[in-house]
Symmetry: C2
């Protein structure tokens, strides 16, 4: 890769946008011009990229003139309006919101799982939900080798998934509680929902809004997106829970595979050599993944792999990843790298 | 209940012992004499019970002379030595440690589930593990009405389950991290295990030591104790995780029932009228159980009850309770109340 591209980051001042810019820098992504875009409110801020100051500009349709790759992470409503404008002007959009994920004309891509789907893009590629991405990276090698009959997942999700303001709320609330002061939650569990609850020293079993079927939208994302990414109609059940953790999502995953007689050791060996996975599974040495150890790393960490005690086809495992990186910024940049590699960027 | 009993609390200065004393007071348990016992190190401390100071004494075999009911929560090794001494001297022991739980001559009792087992006691009654108790209280009504084919649980456990020192570690570590100071974990995940990890703003997938089968001892407690309490050979799978929460265990529970065609509404109605359960399940109003709201309450709180989207016999729910109360002190005192009610205290 010796030529550079004109890349735009939309939502450049947000928790994910910030990580996208860092990741583009760390990966030495071939960039000829970097356009940083945000809401009117954040426009004017300055961001340092490879030692040079870049001024953040207000995102408008015309901002995308000449842009070849646009990474969006400014909320679904922004993507719905501006992503088609970017495409109209010749950009390929990698969208980190839920706006286009289930749209049948939009590929939903985790490069380790379905990079090939990029060929079918119509201008927009959707980046899946953070909790879905790390799960499918861990489970796709198992699906390929042994088939998957069913997935049941309970998540342990960090507040940065709800944005930088949610992290601030966790930290300020924690301080207040330690100092015996009053605190009034104003963001979590869901910014746009009515009731707010304490997250410090608590666990909230609601991420995103409730749907009519009793599941939250976050849970339905895991259920529906997994099928689309794996291109397989696998029954998935999810319970999504927010924790007082700043960054790093964890998941307790149960799978039933199709094949008989597989051992936990075989699953461990499979994942030890899987793309994007780091196996951390040595219980004798108390080695297992933890969110605090995942921060700043691109991989998905898997451990606690063990066979169910009565179900020969059942396996339990613990899957952890930095939700801002593999769950968002890194997966988006990785998609951009794949697009370049496959010659799909004009 | 108009006569009083000579009651002893062993481990009176610990996190659970403290709650036992408070619970005896709150319940107005009929007490003629209260003997508070501890290790040599804590002996001499004074505790206020119903407005009067009681001095904590070092626990020795002779401490149990005249004691009719002894509530033990001072660790398994203390129970192993002193519980038989108490029984020898005529006391009934309610033991909150794992020392006798799986002993076939010792009933393992959650009054809402198997109060009848108290009749078979041989001096010692075991109080189950905290995470097991709240789960069986929530699931027994479902088992009775519809049968249970399988249970898969992922826990979200508070540090007070590891004792008062673990709570102190969480709070001090949290302060250090907020202040950007160094901190060296010294207790969690398991006091007696080799490696220590940060719990503040983290999640640790290890509670108690690992067994050869890849499960932790905490997970095996949930698996084995559930079968003994429910008197049914139900396959249980557990993943136990420690959270930065001081008090209140949460559980994401999946069950497969025997009966076809049951609705989530039927399960909700069943639990709304179940002993020891408070249903908190109104997603339209964002009502669901949370550990921060469970502290100081005796009940088991159940919410997020919903049917699996593909498995007609599968149901998901979220179960929360104060691990020091129903999970320990309250269940022990409740056993003592049942013993009195059934005329089993000499």
């Amino acid at each position: 890769m010796n030529k550079g591209f004109h890349v735009a980051v939309v939502g450049a001042t947000g928790a994910v946008g910030e990580q996208m810019i860092k990741t583009l820098e760390n990966r030495d992504f071939p960039i000829s011009k970097l356009t940083l875009l945000s809401s009117k409110r954040s426009a004017g801020k300055k961001v340092v990229f490879k030692g040079e100051e870049v001024t953040v500009q207000e995102a408008t349709p015309d901002s995308f003139e000449g842009v070849q790759i646009a990474l969006f992470s400014a909320g679904g409503s922004v993507s719905k309006v501006l992503a088609p404008e970017a495409v109209k002007r010749g950009a390929i959009v990698v969208d980190n919101t839920s706006a286009f994920r289930m749209d049948e004309n939009t590929p939903l891509v985790v490069p380790e799982v379905n990079e090939h789907a990029l060929h079918d893009h119509n201008g927009i590629i959707a980046n899946p939900n953070c909790s879905t991405i790390q799960m499918v990276v861990a489970l796709e090698p198992i699906r390929k080798a042994y088939g998957l009959k069913r997935i049941i997942v309970s998540t342990y999700q960090a507040v940065s998934g709800a944005g930088a303001a949610a992290v601030e709320e966790l930290m300020n609330q924690t301080k207040s509680i330690l100092n015996g002061e009053e605190h009034t939650p104003s963001i979590l569990p869901v910014g746009s929902d009515e009731k707010k609850y304490q997250i410090a020293f608590n666990a909230i079993p609601q991420i995103d809004k409730f749907q009519d079927n009793g599941f939250t939208f976050e849970e339905m994302k895991m259920i529906n997106e997994t099928k689309k990414i794996m291109e397989a109609d696998i029954p998935v059940a999810a319970t999504c829970v927010r924790l007082p953790v700043a960054t790093g999502h964890s998941e307790s995953v149960f799978v039933e595979i199709e094949k008989d007689g597989v051992t936990a050791t075989e699953i461990q060996e499979l994942l030890a050599s899987a793309d994007g996975v780091t196996l951390q599974d040595n219980i004798k040495e108390q080695v297992y993944p933890m969110p605090a150890h995942s921060v700043g790393k691109n991989d998905v960490f898997v451990g606690r792999i063990r066979k169910d005690l009565t179900d020969d086809k059942g396996f339990h495992m613990w899957v952890v990843s930095d939700n801002l990186l593999k769950g968002a910024a890194w997966n988006s940049v990785q998609i951009a790298e794949s697009l370049v590699k496959l010659g799909l960027v004009k």
